[in-house]
């Protein structure tokens, strides 16, 4: 048997993506969550510490938006964080992945 990191999505933790050109300002952030998901709480906690506003779509309360989360992420997992920049480009972060989340919202 081989080991799986508990949240494999965080495997990119130490690989910070290269930033090209100057950073583009964040316009808004949407997080798809569920009530029982501990990693959703971590994403919200991180943004809270940084004083960053976000819109939360709780899929337990809005199951009709599940298909939207799946389409955006290509997965059946939460959290899915969608960072929309001022130039309308979007960055989608699947799972609690600080190496991607931190620069995306900086």
């Amino acid at each position: 048997m081989t080991v799986v990191a508990f949240d494999r999505l965080r495997q990119g933790f130490l690989k910070r993506p290269k930033v090209q050109g100057g950073p583009i300002m964040v316009k808004n952030i949407t997080i798809f969550t569920t009530n029982t998901c501990a990693y959703c709480h971590m994403v919200k906690k991180y943004l809270g510490i940084k004083g960053i506003n976000y819109e939360e779509v709780n899929l337990d309360e809005h199951p009709n938006r599940q298909a939207e989360a799946m389409e955006i992420s290509g997965t059946m997992t939460v959290p899915v964080t969608v960072v929309t920049k001022q130039d309308e480009t979007k960055e989608v972060i699947i799972g609690y992945n600080l190496a991607r989340l931190a620069p995306a919202v900086a």
């Binding site: 080991v3 501990a38 059946m76 799972g95 609690y96």
Partner: protein
């Protein structure tokens, strides 16, 4: 020492991991006025935070939600001054009075380290498992179960976690095939609870059934093939949840002289002291741990008190 070196932050204690073991240790060290920094790379509360409901932690006659217990432990540790840094410890080394930690927030020095890194899920290692990860293959029911409302699922495993998670998933799934390689090894209480779902047709248990292959297409998982008594059988499912055991989070300790057992669990003496002076270990990561929240918390308390003795310079080493 270079200017850069003198700027390396120094701490009394650094606790790696904020599961029940680490958080309990932090409650004790901070109440003893020992300055304490914690590192957490995943969810604060560890595996307790991803468990739906905990029925066997003392003091909660009606049980407690894992997330709530995790949050309350965090608040209690923070109330006494523990600081939780969201980041990962990637290496440690012994520099005498201080130990050096390489972390995602830079290098740090600590007089004592507590390894409370717990363990992570094992893979089954069958074709399709990697390919459909998070698109039909999952390891966390409380995270991903909600995507399977009125859908058919397979759960692989037969221990406490597998049965507990199967019961949790019944709130979403229309039917669950529980694929158990040998026999069910969960506690009697959990088995009795499972029996209710077997009786009402929500769960079907398949013993002596080994999972062979997870099959699907671009839209996700379609089926699981299994083998029993040499015969193949296919189960049509929309998703597979895997709970086949845990392995210790000790990769970062492998290059150190800290003794690990053959699986990778940390070997300690009765003081929870590892073979590197000043480095202690407690909870699920420790060789001999009973993999329970109550015992992880108990070991956290013990480790904190032993660390205090160590820092005060009167710990008596015990021969392993």
């Amino acid at each position: 020492m270079s200017d850069k070196e003198t700027q390396v932050p120094k701490h009394d204690v650094i606790i790696i991991g904020s599961g029940p073991a680490g958080l309990t240790a932090a409650i004790y060290t901070t109440r003893e006025d020992i300055e304490t920094l914690m590192f957490e790379r995943g969810a604060v509360g560890g595996l307790a935070a991803v468990t739906d409901k905990i029925d066997n932690y003392p003091g909660f006659p009606e049980g407690v939600e894992g997330l709530k217990l995790a949050d309350d432990l965090r608040k209690q540790a923070e109330r006494f001054g523990a600081v939780i840094e969201l980041g990962e410890v990637t290496a440690i080394s012994d520099e005498g009075e201080y130990k050096r930690l390489e972390t995602t927030s830079g290098d740090m020095l600590a007089k004592a380290i507590l390894v409370a890194t717990g363990s992570d899920y094992k893979k089954i290692g069958v074709p399709g498992e990697q390919e459909f990860y998070a698109r039909g293959v999952h390891y966390c029911a409380t995270c991903d179960g909600a995507f399977y409302r009125d859908k058919k699922l397979a759960v692989v495993g037969g221990g406490n976690s597998a049965i507990q998670e199967t019961i949790f998933l019944t709130r979403f799934a229309s039917h669950i095939d529980l694929l158990v390689r040998s026999t069910i090894k969960a506690s009697d209480v959990l088995q009795q609870e499972l029996e209710e779902y077997v009786k009402n047709g929500k769960v079907t248990v398949h013993l002596a059934t080994s999972t062979q292959n997870i099959v699907g297409d671009t839209s996700g998982v379609k089926s699981v093939t299994t083998q029993k008594d040499g015969k193949n059988k296919e189960f049509e499912v929309d998703g597979v949840f895997v709970f086949v055991g845990l392995l210790p989070n000790t990769q970062f300790l492998k290059p150190t002289p800290i003794r690990l057992d053959e699986i990778g669990f940390v070997i300690t003496d009765q003081n929870l002291h590892t073979s590197m002076p000043g480095v202690f270990a407690c909870g699920d990561v420790r060789c001999g741990a009973t993999m329970q929240i109550a015992s992880a918390a108990g070991e956290g308390a013990t480790a904190a008190l032993k660390i205090r003795e160590y820092l005060e310079g009167h710990m008596h080493p015990i021969q392993n």
